[in-house]
């Protein structure tokens, strides 16, 4: 197969000839085939990568960030409520809570290690560094509190628990919230990339242009040579059709699956995760208010803000209407009322009643209500995550083998077009 190089001066006259035009068509079809292969493969790789990242990287990291917050919040609530109950004439065992506290911080450290190693952006890096730097200080304050309590020096122990808890509220938990919000934003960005239309539209247009050129060349050739079937062009067209349909179908399937994963999985899972964080914050506020003994409304106001966030999440149309989702939505009202009652006790200086309500593990108490609500939110989140994972896996799998197929098809198109037209070109020599 040879293509004769044409002198520049005779270019216009040569193109008007049949051999000249055949040469041009070969060049054009080569370019279009390679463009189709290159762009198509890139589009597949980009979408496949984004879908894969959503399913196997970004969403898991978001879950880890939410777990990090939960670990730190639970550690604070656990250790503070344990020592709130220690005093003259009352020395319940703190061994269990201390073990829970240690387990929470160990898990938090594990989450931090994974988040650090995931090459996060500057915001996450800075927040993780803050938590890593502050955890030893926090742990040290708790350790001193324990020592003082064990020696019966309850006020000093209490002041150190207060120092530790305010450290959690002002430094650790805000940093953990930043990590969660940043990872969540990354998930949303990846979701958008995985389902974006522009690259698909460009690929479709490119395929249509290539198909139109192929058809045009075939029609011109038939008129010129009175041969209606050029095998090369037919093979090229078939390769384009197969790869184009496959690509279009994969995009459609992946987009559908990912949309399902997002709408029925990620969105409610994120809502449940955020709701869980709000509940943790409300719980932490009520504990800190109990040990604050100042009657200031600051923590009550923060709880109210978290409650508004929680209500907005559970009232949204995307909130699951499953029995568990419905129960979680119903539980919040009674729990809010109880929280409000606890703050009222504090305002009235009835610290005994406030403590009793805040620490009550029965269903009517704040501790019990908190456990029930968190259990419901965990169930909602896990169910949604299961839906997400199943649909995201399917979406990521839709691109399997397609990148190679597009490249192979493009090479076939290029070779077949060139061969088919070269056969006709050869007849003019």
């Amino acid at each position: 197969m040879t293509v004769t190089a044409l002198p520049a001066r005779g270019w216009t006259r040569t193109v008007r000839t049949t051999p000249g035009r055949l040469s041009v068509f070969i060049g054009v079809l080569l370019v279009l085939s390679l463009a189709w292969g290159g762009f198509g493969a890139w589009a597949v790789a980009a979408h496949s990568g984004a879908a894969h990242a959503v399913a196997y990287t970004n969403e898991p990291l978001s879950l880890r960030a939410q777990q990090l917050y939960a670990d730190l919040a639970d550690a604070d609530v656990t250790i503070t409520t344990a020592y709130l109950q220690v005093g003259p004439g009352s020395a319940p065992s703190t061994r269990g809570p201390r073990q829970q506290f240690d387990a929470d911080l160990a898990d938090a450290s594990g989450q931090l290690a994974v988040l650090s190693a995931s090459s996060p952006g500057p915001q996450v890096t800075s927040a993780v560094a803050t938590i890593v730097g502050e955890l030893p200080v926090y742990g040290h304050d708790v350790a001193i509190a324990e020592t003082e309590y064990n020696q019966g020096v309850y006020p000093a122990g209490g002041s150190f628990i207060e120092v530790a808890s305010i450290d959690a509220h002002l430094t650790l938990l805000p940093a953990a919230r930043i990590v969660y919000q940043a990872e969540n934003a990354t998930v949303k960005s990846a979701e958008g990339q995985a389902t974006s239309a522009p690259t698909v539209i460009i690929a479709v247009v490119l395929a249509a242009v290539t198909a139109a050129v192929l058809a045009g060349v075939a029609i011109w050739l038939a008129r010129r040579t009175r041969r209606y079937l050029n095998v090369g062009l037919v093979v090229a067209g078939t390769a384009l059709l197969v790869s184009g349909v496959w690509l279009g179908d994969a995009f459609a399937v992946a987009s559908s699956d990912l949309s399902t994963a997002i709408s029925q999985g990620a969105v409610p899972a994120e809502a449940a995760a955020q709701a869980s964080i709000d509940v943790e914050a409300i719980r932490g506020d009520s504990i800190l208010n109990l040990i604050a003994r100042s009657g200031t409304p600051s923590l009550s106001l923060d709880s109210t803000a978290q409650q508004a966030s929680f209500t907005a999440l559970t009232s949204a149309a995307s909130w699951p209407s499953s029995p568990t989702g419905t129960r979680a939505r119903a539980s919040e009202d009674s729990w809010y009322r109880s929280n409000g009652q606890a703050y009222q006790y504090g305002v009235k200086l009835d610290y005994a009643a406030e403590q009793k309500l805040v620490l009550d593990t029965g269903h009517g108490g704040l501790a019990g209500g908190y456990s029930d609500l968190q259990q419901e939110l965990t169930t909602v989140r896990e169910t949604a995550q299961h839906t997400f994972q199943a649909s995201a896996d399917a979406g990521a799998g839709a691109f399997a083998g397609l990148e190679v197929a597009v490249i192979v098809a493009a090479l076939v198109m290029a070779a077949a077009s060139a061969w088919g037209l070269s056969q006709r070109l050869g007849e003019y020599r």
């Binding site: 003259p88 004439g89 730097g133 002002l170 009657g295 923060d302 200086l349």
Partner: protein, 354 residues
């Protein structure tokens, strides 16, 4: 106080604090610093102010009282640069105002005073936290109750009704007194608890009075009175005929709030005082400890409106924790200097004011 305090950063802060203090004091202090708050600290602040002005004539300190609650509120609003308090900042205040610092200034203590005609001033009645809780609760109503007599062999206790006096305003004095009762009496801990204000148990013999001078005066005209007041008002109370109780400490000894016992108490906690200065010294260990000891705090915003104002505040507070802690100042009001380790904590906190 939303600052990560790693070991490395604490060391860096210490070095920075020393540099800052040297730089500040190289130039003469000037300007005006306003203070109000703790009534317990007021007599000492009123001694500091003119002494500071005598040493640095371009610098002035305007003092006020009003109670710890006023000091905290006014520091938050910016009405004063330095609010003083007998109690460290509550976590509720810290949460909403993370830019506030609570800086230990000096070590003080609280006396339990009483009006018992016929009992000589030199014969300090022995009391315990558990008994005081019952007296305030109204379950011990007479001074000659056997439970009080058991602690005071050889003391002729009068047949007199116990008349507790308490504060109603937000008071650091109430915070440390009720903390003491909470550690000594389980019923008090479970029913009343502690705070800058508490719901005092219903006791028909109990009466309210606010202000350290008013407490002394009310007690002095109420035979059978028992109350709590800063040691800085002890001399004035004794001049009115009030007695001072020796309190039972954790080691089983009865102690008075002397300089030695206050220092002994504070030294037990000096090494563990955290970087933000928040620590309770109530009912601490030590054979010679006194059970109601506290640091007096300056409540200060770490971000001052201008660099000049920040400098003025740093200058004054650095002077307080050094020259102001001399025996010539603390002695007359019955206080003690900050332990060295706590002085370092205070210096590092002061260095953060900018």
């Amino acid at each position: 106080m939303a600052v990560a305090l790693t070991t490395a950063s604490v060391a860096a802060h210490a070095a920075g604090a020393a540099r800052q203090a040297r730089a500040d004091m190289a130039a003469q202090p000037s300007g005006t610093v306003k203070e109000d708050g703790s009534g317990l600290l007021l007599p000492l602040v009123q001694a500091w102010a003119p002494a500071y002005h005598r040493q640095y004539q371009a610098a002035t300190v305007i003092t006020g009282g009003g109670g710890s609650g006023v000091g905290i509120d006014d520091a938050i609003s910016g009405k004063v640069q330095v609010g003083t308090s007998d109690a460290y900042l509550s976590s509720g205040d810290e949460f909403i105002h993370p830019d506030l610092l609570n800086i230990p200034l000096v070590t003080s203590a609280q006396s339990v005073i009483y009006d018992l005609p016929g009992v000589p001033e030199s014969r300090h009645v022995h009391l315990s936290g558990a008994l005081l809780a019952q007296m305030y609760r109204g379950t011990i109503t007479m001074w000659n109750d056997p439970r009080i007599a058991a602690l005071n062999p050889g003391v002729s206790l009068p047949v007199l009704k116990i008349r507790p006096v308490h504060r109603t305003i937000v008071a650091g004095d109430t915070f440390i007194f009720t903390q003491y009762l909470s550690t000594q009496d389980a019923t008090w801990n479970e029913t009343t608890g502690y705070g800058t204000r508490v719901a005092w148990p219903p006791n028909p013999a109990d009466q309210a009075a606010d202000g350290s001078n008013v407490i002394d005066q009310t007690c002095a005209r109420t035979p059978g009175c028992v109350s709590y007041n800063g040691v800085s008002y002890l001399a004035a109370g004794q001049a009115l005929g009030l007695g001072e109780a020796a309190l039972l400490n954790a080691e089983g000894n009865y102690t008075l709030p002397t300089r030695a016992s206050i220092e002994a108490t504070a030294s037990e906690f000096a090494q563990i005082t955290p970087a933000d200065g928040t620590i309770a010294l109530i009912a601490g260990p030590g054979a010679d400890s006194y059970p109601i000891v506290n640091f007096e705090y300056a409540i200060v915003k770490s971000d001052q409106p201008t660099p000049a104002m920040a400098r003025q505040v740093r200058d004054f507070l650095n002077w307080v924790i050094t020259s102001g802690n001399a025996q010539s100042f603390t002695g007359p009001v019955g206080f003690a200097a900050l332990p060295p380790g706590v002085q370092q904590v205070a210096a590092e906190l002061i260095a953060r004011i900018s």
